[in-house]
Symmetry: C3
Subunit: 156 residues, 3 copies
């Protein structure tokens, strides 16, 4: 069977997990926009102080760092450090033909870990809570990647 | 037919759009280098103040932020926030077998939106102009991703 | 033969190079954690100053920038600027059916260039040394991407 067919439940599992993670990352961009509009600040480019329909009353303070905006930027950066690698690692992992149950646990488990990390970060829980969720996801990612590498090395 | 064959026009469409976006992102690194050499500054690491053939006359001011360099860094960061997700979303989208016309409109349209965003950012157009081009691309990305997720969920 | 089978030596070459690069990127996250624990600082979020089992003795100075931590963050950012694009470019490159030798030279050569870049950056070698290794990798990436684009354009 074609590995990239939606008749292949391993590929469907990957596509569901991957698209949810892509939407999650894209949402961080939109959430940054929402917060910048709420606080009317947290901008980064000098030209953002020009008077426009979206910024009718510009003010030099709009270029200062704003914690409500920066919190989303930090969450976003954490996504950039993790999700692109998950997207490729998860794909290669399902291509090596693991059991469907293992793939579902790891891929959906990773997705869950990232939403818990997001919730902990957004609500400013302690570092330890946030780090726990990040660690769970990171270990799943490293496990999938190592297993894929080991399988590939056997075919070298 | 093999979905990953260059005889598959959907895959060819994806490969053309994806490689152009990869070259665009790589160009941002090179453009940062060019601008750092032009202004002889905008460096970030303490060791960049050591005297070398490429930096024969070091000066502590070279580690200060430089707007000409930082503008490219901001554009680059925007690419990092968007392109890796487009590269995976576009691939999965064409794997679900959309019509060729829809794939061409969305994938080439996304590429065009990113070049317009780049032009607006590089020349410091107003935030509203830049945001318009970013928004068009982001909506295309979210649309492709949602459609792919919906198709995959039907096969769960 | 299935292009995504581990019986395909081109795909195996890609999987080995890609998983090593993913593990390299994930290691940067862990190395940041290690250094933050060593220096008990370099944190970024206000809530990281709360007293927890992992931070029993909080101090406002923990939110100040720390060069030992920031060095790893800069290396990590350089990975984010390069590896996600390599992961997709390398995949599409092997899908276009280059010779196995060329694929091995470019993919393993890229991996080697990134480890040399890491070693030069970690030990604070001069900018020129670090830039040389980055340049070698970037040229390999651009070459693979251009070749893939040219092959795809012939099938448009």
């Amino acid at each position: 069977m074609d590995k990239l067919s939606l008749e292949n439940p391993l590929f469907v599992t990957y596509v569901v997990a991957a698209t949810i993670m892509i939407l999650k990352a894209a949402s961080m961009s939109w959430l940054t926009v929402v917060r910048m509009m709420q606080v009317k600040g947290g901008f980064r480019s000098p030209e953002d102080l020009k008077k426009t329909p979206l910024n009718p009353d510009p003010n030099p303070k709009q270029l200062e760092a704003n914690e409500r905006v920066d919190r989303i930027r930090r969450i976003h950066l954490n996504d950039l450090e993790n999700l692109p690698f998950f997207l490729v690692a998860g794909f290669l992992f399902v291509m090596t033909g693991p059991s469907l149950l293992m793939a579902q646990l790891l891929l959906y488990g990773y997705v869950a870990s990232r939403f818990l990390h997001f919730a902990a970060y957004l609500t400013a829980r302690t570092h330890d809570t946030r780090a726990t969720f990040w660690t769970i996801g990171s270990i799943m990612l490293v496990f999938m990647t190592c297993r894929t590498l080991v399988v590939a090395l056997r075919h070298l």
